[in-house]
Amino acid sequence: MLAVEVEATVGGMDLRVKLPAHPGATVIVGPNGAGKTTLLKCLLGVIPPRRGRIELCGEQLYCSEQRIDVPVGHRQLGYVPQHGALFPHMTVLGNVGFGVRGRKAARDDQAMALLSELGIAHLARRRGRSLSGGEAQRVALCRALAIAPRALLLDEPTAGLDADARPEIRRFLVDRLAKLAIPRVVVSHDLEDARALGGRVVVLESGRVTQVGTVADLQQRPATPFIERFAGTAQPMPRP
């Protein structure tokens, strides 16, 4: 369960978001500059909110009233940034093992087991910088899962991939994320992502939540002109 209520101001943009507790997948959509990535970074603890509360499975990660602010490294959140952001100088094994504790051999074993589980063990010896966009996304997910996260945050997992790789990665994500019993938050530009990942869709516009519902809700009762345009076409949103 992840419950969020945050207010933050970053670079002139005022973010006020309240999301009731939700156990499964939350897909956050919205136009560029709506505050989607800022919201993710508030959850991660990278951007300090002005005030609010973030509660994960009964534990407060942040609470302005009680002055609780769990440091980034102690929140145990799996983060998959845009384009994966792999460590380019390390091997895939090194990337995945980075967050695992223990001796080198044990770390490697655990990383290898995870790579095999995700069906990408053949990439283990490759350098981070030598991977394609789709491969990088898979490894980035694997790296995030290696710390046994209590929640998973993905920023635009299908953005920047070519048309062939996108459905493949989407299928991969749907497949993997469905097996997880932890809250998942996925920021996306793409209605297809929202449809495929299921769960609730949260629409963010200019730092405010304008609608929460399923893709069908958005299509049948769009609350704003943006949602009408967004849900009306199954095409990915054009990036300006």
Partner: protein
């Protein structure tokens, strides 16, 4: 037209090599000033480079992480020595660390005197050459994808681990290039050293000062020492460049 500047820059370098007879070169190298000056230059420049790297790398990392007014102010201040004429730098160092200087007068009371010592040579070199390293390091650190650092932190890495395992390896080649530029500047240091450290053979007479001193009596000997100086500089620069190229192999 396009080649004019190139020709102008190459000609003096060529002249330095071709106008000297082998006998003169050997005689010049045999000058008693050469060996102590070469030794002093190598020792002091490596010492100053080591201090710059050890103290400068964390400073550059810090500057790259922040983006406030104080950061910009600090960055501007550490860049000042680049635009400061070396002779002025020498005066400034004397006013700070000289016998009558702000800090120097205090040091004097506990029996420490910095000017005209080897320490002064190192200090002059650090002052004029640190900006080259700091600037290269700060811009390299700033070019790192923020998300890589954020991910490393979410994976539970301490700030030190983020720095040593992610930041430092990603910038290794830029840092090496910055260190090479900084070291070359220190090796060529003349003005500030002369004002602040003097020109004492064996203690403060570096290769550049030896060139200047010899030049007043014997042009050929000065040229021979110059050749030693540029040979050392070119060799080390080449080594650094090739090593840097080795570590960047495979970069996109």
């Amino acid at each position: 037209m396009a080649g004019l500047l190139f020709a102008f820059m190459v000609l003096p370098v060529v002249a330095l090599w071709v106008t000297l007879k082998v006998d003169d070169l050997l005689a010049g190298i045999a000058d008693p000033r050469v060996v102590p000056a070469l030794k002093l230059s190598l020792v002091t420049t490596f010492l100053s480079l080591a201090i710059i790297i050890i103290l400068g790398t964390p400073l550059a990392w810090l500057l790259a992480q922040r983006d406030g007014r104080l950061t910009r102010l600090v960055e501007t201040v550490v860049r000042l020595p680049v635009v400061m004429p070396p002779a002025v730098a020498g005066i400034a160092l004397l006013l700070a660390f000289g016998r009558e200087g702000i800090v120097g007068s205090w040091l004097g009371r506990i029996g420490w005197s910095i000017p005209f010592s080897t320490a002064a040579v190192v200090m002059a070199q650090i002052f004029v050459s640190a900006p080259f390293y700091l600037q290269a390091a700060a811009s390299a650190f700033r070019a790192i994808d923020r998300d890589q650092l954020i991910v490393a932190t979410t994976l539970g890495a301490s700030p030190a681990r983020v720095f040593f395992r992610v930041g430092l390896p990603l910038c290794a080649s830029s840092l090496t290039a910055g260190a090479a530029m900084s070291w070359a500047r220190a090796l060529g240091e003349f003005g500030a050293t002369l004002m602040f450290a003097g020109n004492l053979s064996g203690t403060t007479q570096t290769l550049t000062l030896a060139v200047y001193t010899t030049f007043q009596s014997d042009m050929r000997a000065a040229q021979a020492i110059s050749l030693v100086l540029v040979s050392v500089a070119f060799t080390l620069l080449l080594v650094l460049i090739f090593r840097a190229r080795g570590t960047t192999e495979g970069h996109p």
